[in-house]
Each structure stands twice: as C-alpha cells, then as structure tokens.
C-alpha cells in the first residue's frame, strides 16, 4: 500500500502548505495546486492513473490532491465543488458520466480554473480544455482489426462478449470499437462505413441479446455482464459457454473479465478452440498471457502513464507558458495501440502496477 499512503501524506501536507503560500502561487518556477477528481479507485487502471498523476506532479514540484468519487455522480459533483472552493490552479477530471459533470466544469472554468478531462469522454458542452484519451474506440478498433486477421476468411467468427456495467459509456465505446475493427476488416469497408455498421450491430445486440453481421461473417451469440472483474467474468463465461459451446472467439471490454473467463474455458478444455481479445487495458497479467503465446491474443493499450504525461504536458503549457486554454482540440489522444504477440515484448513491463 505504499503508493496510497504516500499520496495521503503528501496531499494532506500539501494543501496546508499551499494554503500558506497562496499569494506566491503565480509566476514562473512556482508551485501549483492540482486537483484530480477521479471517478473510482476500485480498479488497478484508475489506481495507476491516480498514481501517475501524483508522480508526474511531484516530479514538477507541484502539489496534487486526489479525490475519489466511488462511481457516484453525487460524490463527483461534491469533489469538483471542493476543488473550486479550495482554489486549485488546475483540475484533472475523470468523469463517471459524459454529461454528468457539466455544471461543475463550467463553474470551475468560470472561477478561472482550467479543467482537463482524462480518460473518459465528456460532452463538448462542458467546456473542458481538452480530453486526454487513450482512445477507447481507437483501441477497440485496432484490436478488432487484429482479431480479424486471426481467423480464416471463410470461417465465421462466432463470439460472445463480456461487458462491464450496463450504461457505461466507456464500455460501449470499446465494444463498438471491437465491432468496427472486425467488420471493417472482414467486410472490406472504410473506417467511416464500419463505424456506422458497428453502431447498428451494437443496437441489434442490445435489442435481441444476439447480433449477426452477414458481410463480415461475424456473430455475437451472447453478452455477459461481469462488472469489470475476474470474479464475475468467470461465472458469466461459464453460462455463456453452456449455451454456446461452439464459439471460437471471446471479446471483452477489459482484461480482468477475460482473465476470469479464461478459467471457464480452461475448465471445459476449450482454450485451444477459442481466441480471446480485450478492447482495453493492456494490464500486465494480460500482457504476460499474450507473451506466453496462449489463446489470449490481444489487448488495447490503455497506458495510464502516457495519459498522465500528456495531461501534464498540456497543463504546463497553460500554467507556465500561458497558452490559451480554449485553443486545444476537443480530444487529445495518446496513440491507439493493439498489443499483440508481435509487439508485446516491447510493451511488457513486469514491474508496472498496472
């Protein structure tokens, strides 16, 4: 637990220090107060992101305070309001809901505090500086494109999908990305056309619980809700396997759920027959599996360190160099990358927290 307790001390003492030295806070080479309103910490990715934000800040000698909304919109609003009343210089936000924090962001901006959105999508109405993504859709699509190459042309891709939580926009983006990539490659469409098809495909899945794309020769036979965890991924996969014993593909909205689902495949000796693709995270356990040449084939890179780095780069431009916060594009992506057996060696770091 060192990472957390460290940040506790530093942020608590930091806010006191900042309180005392407020008048001196502007100008060059000075220290800045940064707030990070994180949506949840119940998942290694978000933990790693919070740590990365903390570390990048400390590298620069700034003080960073992290608040966790625990997936509650109400708490998120409270957190944002807290930062505004504490007079932060800049706020990083990872919002729960794309529309959820608009008034709070607007209030912060009105108080002269720029807000940079991290990771999750936010409505353009909010008026954040920019949203720094590891591009969920892009990652999904890259993985989907790769998945398409793992099957013969005439072979039907018979899949099931493990989804996170109902109504989660990030999950939906990842899911659609996967569909888009597979359809794009297999049906020979342009990216733009493929997105349209993916959207239709996803709606079909929502309405009927199954979906089939003829041109791509691609079907999703069932969707299990596994709340982002391995523990729920396992039973969901077990049930899906009973109903669909002949699948050859498992898609997932993150790595954890697939890692759980893998146990179900192992139990019925289907690891040979089924290949697994996660739209997201590239967490180290998954990378290890990819490296070992198992049927876990690919994961989208969602590197928290890269997101934090890009976020601070922009923050510095605004706070130190005085760049106009409204001059940024809506989205700033870290590059979408599919981690596959081909490139896993470069990207795998067994000592990462995530």
């Amino acid at each position: 637990a060192p990472a957390v307790s460290e940040s506790a001390e530093s942020s608590a003492s930091a806010s006191e220090a900042a309180e005392a030295s407020q008048p001196a806070a502007d100008g060059e080479g000075k220290t800045f107060k940064i707030g990070f309103a994180q949506k949840t910490m119940d998942n290694p990715f978000f933990l790693a992101l919070a740590n990365a934000i903390q570390e990048e800040g400390e590298k620069r000698g700034w003080t960073v305070s992290v608040l966790d909304a625990k997936n509650s919109l109400e708490t998120e609003m409270a957190n944002m309001e807290t930062f505004v009343s504490q007079g932060m210089d800049l706020i990083f936000l990872n919002t729960i809901d794309s529309e959820g924090a608009i008034p709070e962001v607007q209030a912060a901006t009105a108080a002269g505090i720029p807000v940079i959105e991290l990771d999750s999508g936010i409505s353009p109405d909010a008026g954040v500086v920019t949203t720094v993504f590891s591009d969920n859709r892009g990652n999904g699509r890259k993985v989907g494109l790769y998945a398409a190459t793992c099957y013969d042309e005439g072979e039907t891709i018979s899949s099931v999908i493990l989804s996170g939580d109902k109504g989660n926009p990030g999950g939906e983006d990842r899911r659609m990305g996967l569909f888009c990539g597979i359809i794009e490659a297999r049906a020979g469409l342009t990216e733009e056309e493929a997105w349209v098809e993916a959207e239709k495909f996803n709606q079909e899945l929502t309405d009927n619980g199954k979906a089939f794309h003829e041109a791509a020769n691609f079907e999703v036979l069932g969707q299990g809700w596994a709340h982002w965890t391995a523990d729920d991924g396992l039973p969901a996969m077990e049930d899906l396997l009973v109903a669909n014993p002949n699948i050859n593909c498992v898609l997932g909205e993150n790595d954890n759920m697939l890692i759980g689902g893998m146990e179900a495949l192992r139990a019925v000796d289907k690891l040979e027959q089924v290949q697994m693709f996660a739209a997201c995270d590239g967490q180290k356990e998954a990378l290890a599996l990819i490296q070992q040449g198992t049927s876990y084939k690919a994961s989208g890179e969602n590197n928290p360190n890269k997101v934090a780095e890009l976020g601070y780069q922009i923050a510095e431009e605004i706070l130190v160099e005085g760049k106009d916060p409204t001059s940024y594009p809506e989205e700033s992506h870290t590059d979408a990358v599919a981690i596959t057996p081909e490139n896993v060696d470069e990207l795998y770091d067994p000592n990462a927290i995530f």
Partner: protein, 314 residues
C-alpha cells in the same frame, strides 16, 4: 441535574450533530464557507427528499429498496419528455406519475398480496432500473439547452432552489407526521398493526399509501438530480437505499416500525453529508476513507445511544 440529563437524552441527535459540525469547523478552514455550505445543501437535497419517503415506509415497519432505481427512472423520464419537446411542467408531471405508479405496485404487493417489503421493493428496484435502461437505451440523455438546468443551479438570494424544495418537503413531512391522522396512524401501524386493524382502520390502504409517497419523493428527487446535471441518467441513485435507510436509523428510527422522526432523519442525512464532505476537504486518501467513515458512523451512533439510553432493560 435531572433536567439536564433529560435534555441531553431528548436532544442527543441534535447535540451529536452540532458537535460534529464544530469538529469539522475546527479541522478544516474550508468547511464553514458559504460555498461549501451551499454545496452540501445542493448535493444532499435529493437524499433528504428520498429519506422522507423512506421514513414513512420505515414507520410502518416496512422497507423500500427501490428508491435509487425510481430516482433514476424519474431522471430518465424527465429528460426523455424534455427531449420530446414537452414543457418542464408536463415532464415533471409524467415523472411524478411514474413514481406514484411504482409506489402503487410495491404497496399493493406488500399490503394486499402480503409480500415481505424487502422482497417486493427489491423486485421493484430491479424492474424500475430495467425500465430506466430500456427507456434511455442505456445511455445518459442530455436535455435541451436551458430546459431544466435553471432549476438545479438557481437560487433565491443565496439559498439554492433545490434546498428550498427540500426544506418544503421536510416541513410537509414534519406536518404530516405530527398533525395529521395519516401520520399518526402510520406510526400506530408500525407499532401494532393488529390493533389498528381491529380499530376499524383500513390498514392496507395506509400501507400502500406510504410506498406511493416514497415513490413520489423518489421521482421528485430524480427530477432534481436531472436538473443539476441537465441530463437524465439511468445509473444515478445506485446504493441510495442504503444511505436513505441509514439516515433514518441514525435519526433514531427503528426498522421494526413505530419510531422515527422527520427532522431527525434530516439530521441523519446531514451527518452522512458531513462525513463525506470533511473527508473530501481534508483529501483523506480514498481507501482509508472507508475505514474512517465506518468508525465515524459507529462513534456518532454510539454516542447517541449512550446519551439516550434511558430504555428500561425489559
């Protein structure tokens, strides 16, 4: 001396709350600022309203787990109606009616079909959430520009509109509990249902009534939540039932019915609010926060039971 202990016992909930406020003021300079107070008010207006409905259900000895889902349903329906071009008034009407409908279903299952309130309201929790998902197709629904946000961000002087609405609801419940036969009979039902039935009172009607009122409160809270963010979301209000029940119980309500007070339930909400707020202000790291929160809840309730333990050992 005697009088002092009596005073202490009667007002222990309030005293604990005051002490908590003083502690917060002492440990965080940000706490007692107008912005922060207004923030707390805005943030917890919804929970206060939901807790009022919950209190009446609890008074009859029931429980309503469906509150969070009905809040979500209310929020989604309001947004959908606004998107369809209806006026805010009509949209609110429809949302409130849906809340009432949910309440009627739960109430009828409990009173007439004699289902355990826990199960009936749990089924309603699942169903209302499902309906909210179906209506919204699983995604948040942004409302048309300017259609509702003024309600959530508005204020009369410094007092946010949301707070005014919440206070009005609390006053209404306080009045209902203390000055109407409905309120007293609700308590009597929780205290001894058979006695009330044998007094020739239509117990089933009253019991259905409290769930309807709870549904109505939830829908209202849903509208207010929607007005804060200007979006209707099918995922809001998850876990709200626990907070609402906890607020009532911290405010002295008994889950077996017959005991509880509207004003004290509000204090219960505020104690929960304080705990959340102060930890954020102090930037307590997220994981130990849970532990500290648990300890504070235990401590505050313990202090209350200790100061008010005049109960006979019977």
């Amino acid at each position: 001396m005697k009088k002092a202990t009596f005073f202490l016992k009667k007002y222990s909930t309030y005293i604990i709350f005051l002490v908590a406020v003083l502690i917060c003021i002492a440990i965080s300079p940000d706490f007692f600022t107008p912005t922060n107070i207004v923030n707390i008010g805005r943030q917890y207006a919804g929970l206060i309203i939901v807790s009022m409905g919950m209190l009446f259900v609890i008074l009859t000895g029931g429980i309503d787990l469906s509150v969070g889902s009905i809040v979500a349903l209310g929020s989604v329906i309001t947004a959908t109606c606004l998107v369809a071009g209806m006026s805010l008034g009509v949209a609110m009407m429809i949302a409130l009616l849906c809340g009432i409908l949910c309440g009627i279903i739960t109430g009828v299952l409990v009173s007439y079909a004699k289902m355990a309130p826990f199960i009936a309201s749990m089924a309603m929790m699942t169903m209302a959430r499902g309906v909210a998902f179906v209506i919204s197709n699983g995604s948040p629904i942004p409302t048309p520009e300017g259609s509702i946000i003024w309600l959530g961000t508005g204020a009369v002087g410094v007092i946010p509109t949301l707070v005014i609405i919440a206070v009005a609801v609390v006053v209404a419940f306080w009045f209902m509990q203390n000055y109407t036969s409905f309120g007293r009979i609700v308590i009597a039902i929780g205290s001894n249902e058979t006695a009330v039935r044998l007094a020739g009172i239509r117990v089933k009607l009253y019991k259905t009534g409290v769930y309807v009122i709870s549904g109505l409160c939830c829908a209202l809270a849903g509208i207010l939540l929607c007005s804060r963010t200007a979006i209707g979301s099918p995922v809001v209000g998850e876990g709200m039932e626990l907070d609402a029940i906890a607020a009532c119980v911290i405010g002295g309500a008994s889950l077996s019915g017959g005991e509880g007070s509207a004003v004290k339930a509000v204090i219960g909400v505020l104690i929960l609010a304080l705990i959340g707020n102060i930890m954020n202000l102090l930037a307590v790291p997220s994981y130990p926060q849970d532990i500290i929160k648990g300890i504070i809840i235990v401590a505050s309730v313990l202090l209350q039971t200790l100061t008010s333990s005049n109960k006979k050992e019977a």
